[in-house]
């Protein structure tokens, strides 16, 4: 056997070649620049100086409390993105993250309030509860797709609407919420037991949520599962070509259900940072919309664990610093939504252009290299 190592090394170098990195970064950077430009124009039309707005946002992000806020929020966003991305990696459009996390967080809050075990059992118990409920709820869409051929896009949209009703049915005094006093108008579950509180790290800028580590862990597991396990290979193969995966022996039906459940299980975690680190109970105004936000972040980060981390930070930066805008300069905070929208759209277009360019480049390179090889051998034959 000739040593394969030089070749392997060369290929590794090839993989992280400068061109690829430039290509990978070109899209998001271009998109952000473009959307900053568009939003600047919008802000200017409202008669404000856009640079003041950017200044407010960037200044806040340089402050310690702003940074803590951004990181804490990014933790939640990252989990939401990971949940959506897990499905996307096999072309499964789980639009239902929204419903899954709500139902899961509600149950976790209920269990957390009912049970009071030592923290090292209590917290895993709540994590498992949330993941279980999220997974179960997602499995409905998976099963419907596999057995009844119902598109998951439609079924999860319906399940999102139904989840609101589920919360409505359960989050009432006497069921999951305590009997209300006559003066209280906000309904929420009892607070979770003290042992359910997740640790946080006190910093100068406030408490940094320990759940950040869970998010990082999810990202690492996500990456590991996808690139280092058989299951992950099957999943990616299915995402790239369902027909080829089927022929290769992947049980696509099983994969659909499993991925849907895993996606739902990750979705189950989305509400937990807020629940176990901040509000300690699930109320009627528990933050909605994270599921849809997660989808956008996943798209922005190309469903890759690293990319999504950047995307989550970017969105969190926009949301956190954007809420400073009305107070410090009277800018409408709606500009943040515009900005997120333009970034997502610009980025997906840019990714597609870059992808196509990259593929063509590679084909040309392969063609050229082969032609060169062929010419070389021909010459050799002639001279021989």
């Amino acid at each position: 056997m000739t040593s394969p190592n030089p070749a392997a090394k060369r290929s590794f170098a090839q993989r992280i070649s400068g061109e690829r990195i430039v290509l990978a970064l070109a899209a998001p950077v271009l998109a952000v620049v473009l959307s900053v430009a568009i939003c600047s124009v919008l802000l200017a039309t409202s008669g404000k100086n856009p640079f003041d707005a950017w200044n407010v946002m960037i200044t806040y992000a340089t402050k310690s409390d702003g940074q803590v806020l951004i990181l804490n929020r990014a933790t939640t966003y990252y989990l939401a993105a990971a949940a959506a991305a897990f499905g996307f990696r096999m072309n499964l459009f789980n639009i239902g993250v929204e419903g899954q996390y709500k139902v899961a967080a509600l149950f976790a809050a209920f269990v957390g309030a009912q049970v009071d075990l030592p923290a090292f059992i209590q917290i895993p118990l709540l994590l498992v509860t949330a993941m279980l409920i999220g997974g179960l709820y997602a499995s409905i869409a998976g099963l419907l797709k596999v057995y009844r051929g119902v598109s998951e896009v439609i079924s999860t949209i319906m399940l999102n609407a139904i989840s609101v009703s589920i919360v409505g049915l359960l989050l009432v005094p006497g069921v999951f919420a305590p009997k209300a006093s006559s003066t209280s108008n906000s309904i929420q579950t009892d607070p979770v037991s003290d042992s359910s509180h997740f640790f946080s790290i006190p910093t100068a800028g406030g408490d940094l949520w320990g759940f950040l580590f869970i998010a990082v862990l999810v990202g690492v597991l996500f990456q590991f599962t996808l690139t280092r396990t058989r299951f992950g290979f099957d999943l990616r193969a299915t995402g790239r070509s369902e027909s080829a995966a089927t022929a290769s022996g992947v049980n696509v039906k099983k994969m659909v259900v499993i991925s849907m459940v895993v996606s739902g299980a990750i979705a189950g975690l989305i509400g937990l940072p807020e629940l176990l680190q901040n509000s300690y109970s699930y109320g009627q105004s528990f933050q909605p919309g994270l599921g849809f936000l997660g989808i956008s972040i996943a798209l922005l980060g190309r469903n890759s664990p690293i990319g999504m981390a950047f995307a989550a930070l970017l969105f969190s930066f926009l949301d956190s610093t954007g809420s400073q805008l009305p107070l410090k300069g009277g800018f409408p905070f709606e500009i943040v939504a515009v900005m997120q929208g333009t970034i997502v759209i610009c980025v997906v277009v840019a990714y597609e252009l870059v992808r196509r360019y990259g593929l063509k480049r590679q084909q040309q390179k392969v063609g050229a290299q082969l032609a060169a090889q062929a010419a070389a051998t021909e010459k050799k034959e002639v001279s021989a």
């Binding site: 439609i154 949209i157 997906v348 990714y351």
Partner: protein, 421 residues
């Protein structure tokens, strides 16, 4: 790819014999449903399911859903999946209310369509020209357009507070006219009030069709019929549909696929925009942030439910409109609806038994029994559940019927000119 896969005909054996829903069958089914409703109405003394008010309200609620669905239909028939309908509807609500206030509601309708069409144009640029995945583009549009509308609302209407505008609301526009057929409407109402078995129910349904209809409801109905005609009976439609079935084939025959896709997606946005304008000009008289409440998605579901056909789409939208307005108008009747669904499931079970599908029979029977028991053991449906009825029904119907659905063959696929195989 190889010719072989493209050319593989349907499996050999029995000759293809399609069982299509023909007009007589459809009419018979409608008649059957009416009898069922009438009988249940008689038995329970609750006649609101077939009352004229309910029918006309159902039509009204169906309009935004139906228009979104029609938008979906146009776009998907040309091969472009459009989940950006929701965003395009928002554009319609905003532009409709804006022009409706500044000029008049008729111009508002037009402006709403125009706003939606702009959203459609954006979707077309992203998906057709740049070849981005259709769902991804739709998600982006649903994020962007509501953001822009909310932003513009806030900065633009600052000076209109005294006219009734607010931070996230536009000033009110004038209403659009309603149509009532003079003699017919009241005559039917009289019959309806007698609660005669079936006769009154028919009168109620017919009455709903001629009483207090917004002109936009009529317009929407006309648009659905016109869409059918355009798409299935004209050259334009043939070309458009060919782009959704096999764009490369269309291209090889000189059809400018990009052009048709663009037209379809823009039209799609315009229909969604009209649905939005209905919300901000008829259902309410002003724009409000978050007014569409996911109707774009429901419209899409209605279209799939209707098997990518205008008639089916109208039925799907009607079903949504019916349950949605019923739960608002008359929450108690939702309880009666359970009984009706239970009986319908039992009938379905009989049909399946006749077709010798035994497992399906058992499943249907169990569902029917469960629903029947629920009806018998309760007096009312809990409100959160009432709100969920349309979604639950859609899920159930789709899980029963989705294997019969057939979407355009190249739907959702990315087409590049000159790169067909």
């Amino acid at each position: 790819m190889s010719t072989a896969t493209a050319a593989r005909p349907k499996a050999p054996g029995a000759p293809a014999k399609k069982r299509k829903l023909s007009w007589p069958v459809v009419l018979l089914l409608i008649a059957g449903a009416l009898v069922l409703f009438a009988a249940v109405g008689m038995a329970t003394g609750n006649h609101s399911l077939t009352s004229s008010g309910q029918v006309s309200a159902a039509l009204g609620s169906a309009v935004p859903i139906g228009m979104a669905g029609l938008g979906g239909l146009w776009s998907e028939r040309a091969g472009v999946v459009n989940i950006g309908l929701e965003g395009m509807m928002v554009a319609g609500t905003f532009c409709g209310a804006w022009a409706g206030y500044l000029v008049n509601p008729w111009v508002g309708l037009l402006a709403g369509m125009l706003g939606g069409a702009l959203g459609g144009l954006l979707h077309a640029i992203i998906t057709v020209t740049f070849g981005v995945d259709h769902i991804v583009s739709g998600v982006g549009i649903n994020l962007l357009i509501p953001g822009i509308c909310a932003y513009v609302n806030r900065i633009y209407y600052k000076d209109y507070i005294s006219a009734g505008a607010g931070a996230n609301q536009s000033p009110p526009a004038d209403p659009l006219p309603y149509i009532t057929v003079p003699g017919l409407s009241s005559g039917l109402k009289t019959i309806e009030n007698h609660h005669w078995f079936l006769v009154s129910d028919v009168a109620g349904v017919l009455g709903g069709l001629v009483t207090n209809l917004s002109v936009v409801v009529v317009l929407a109905a006309v648009l659905i019929v016109v869409s059918y005609f355009l798409l299935w009976r004209t050259v334009f439609g043939l070309r458009l549909r060919s782009c959704g079935e096999n764009p490369t084939a269309a291209e090889s025959l000189g059809v400018n696929v990009y052009k048709y896709k663009y037209m379809a997606v823009i039209a799609s946005g315009a229909f969604a925009g009209l649905g939005g304008a209905y919300l901000s000009l008829v259902a309410a008289h002003f724009y409000k942030d978050g007014q569409t409440l996911g109707r774009g998605f429901i419209g899409l579901a209605a279209m799939i439910f209707g098997n990518w056909m205008p008639g089916g789409l109208a039925m799907g939208a009607g079903l949504f409109g019916f349950t949605d307005s019923l739960q608002l108008r008359d929450p108690e009747s939702v309880h009666v609806l359970i009984l009706i669904v239970a009986i319908a499931m039992a009938l379905l079970a009989l049909w399946q038994l006749y077709r010798r599908k035994f497992t399906a029979t058992v499943v249907s029977l169990v569902v029917a029994g469960g629903l029947g028991a629920w009806y018998a053991l309760t007096d009312e449906v809990q409100r959160p559940l009432i709100v969920a009825t349309p979604y639950l029904i859609t899920l159930v119907v789709l899980s029963l019927a989705s294997q019969r659905l057939r979407m355009p063959k190249a739907d959702g696929q990315i087409y590049r000119k000159g790169q067909g195989k």
